[in-house]
């Protein structure tokens, strides 16, 4: 996923639909960036394909140069009807937080998976 100038750290690994996913993007090496973004998304995985099935707009965490060791907090809200995490014999439906640095050359990206539980029974 490109050079690892950033990594994503989540405060908690398990959430319910509608909850807020909190964490931070940690910069591992100083980079002259235009912007730093983060988004939460749901991805379908088959043996040979991976497709995002949500279209949640990203948030801008920072602009300009990112110093090594700095952290940028985020709070991203899961949809109320978020599909629960699912693993089957040939596929998976997973949620992840993706962060990426818009910089000259190849953008740096990082991701962290999270578990989304099924809605509580009414």
């Amino acid at each position: 996923m490109g050079a690892s100038v950033i990594r994503v750290a989540l405060d908690a690994g398990r959430h319910a639909p509608g909850e807020v996913v909190k964490g931070s993007v940690v910069v591992t090496e100083t980079v002259g960036a235009r912007s730093l973004y983060a988004a939460v998304r749901c991805v379908e995985h088959s043996p040979d394909y991976a497709v995002a099935v949500t279209d949640i707009p990203p948030v801008t965490l920072a602009e300009g140069e990112l110093a090594a060791g700095s952290g940028y907090a985020f709070a991203l809200t899961l949809p109320g009807d978020a599909l629960p995490t699912l693993r089957s014999t040939h596929g998976r439906i997973l949620w992840e937080v993706v962060a990426w640095v818009d910089k000259p050359g190849r953008d740096g990206r990082a991701r962290a998976e999270l578990e989304v539980a099924a809605p509580a029974a009414v």
Binding site: E44, H45, S46, P47, D48, Y49, A50, V51, V53, L83, P84, L86, S88, T89, H90, G91, R92, I93, A118, P119, A121
Partner: protein, 200 residues
Amino acid sequence: MSEGPTTGAARARAAHESRSRRQFVFAVVLATIGFFVLVVFGVGGLLVGAAGVMTFAIVIGGAFLATAWSLYRKARPTEVPARVRVEPADGVRGGRVEVIVEPTAAAGLGTIEIELICIERYAVRERHDGDWVRRTREARELEVRQVMEGGGGVAAFDIPATAPYSHQGDVLSYEWRVEVTQPRRRRLDARQVVPLWVRP
């Protein structure tokens, strides 16, 4: 192109259906020959006034058509003579659904099989003529079978809490359904399929 069923019972059923499809094709071929004989020799005999030729056409053509009809009756798909419904119509993982079978024929149903099935469909990349192409394969992620004797009744199924939920995606889909099958000897089994939506 899709991969076929993966369990033993499903493979046996698929083999039976394959045999029935071959019977159906054979019936069509025999019917074609029968009509050809009837038309060519029957009309020809009529035109030249040859009663023997006409008789040949009727007997041989008729035999082909009768055999074709018999094969067609064996090979055609038929529905189970019963009203089948699932309650509730949309299930939930960790919950229970009931399959209610009410015979509609006076003769009853005899022994029937009821299956709760989850089919997983997933996209793969395959080589074809030197190019990579996308194909969809399918496999039964879950199947639970019950046998019902004496014609009609209620069969209850528990949906595992960890089973897939119904989903229609771009590269991954899960379809749930109930299949009721009435096994028949030397004929295609009668079958009825009721779709089911399973919520997360």
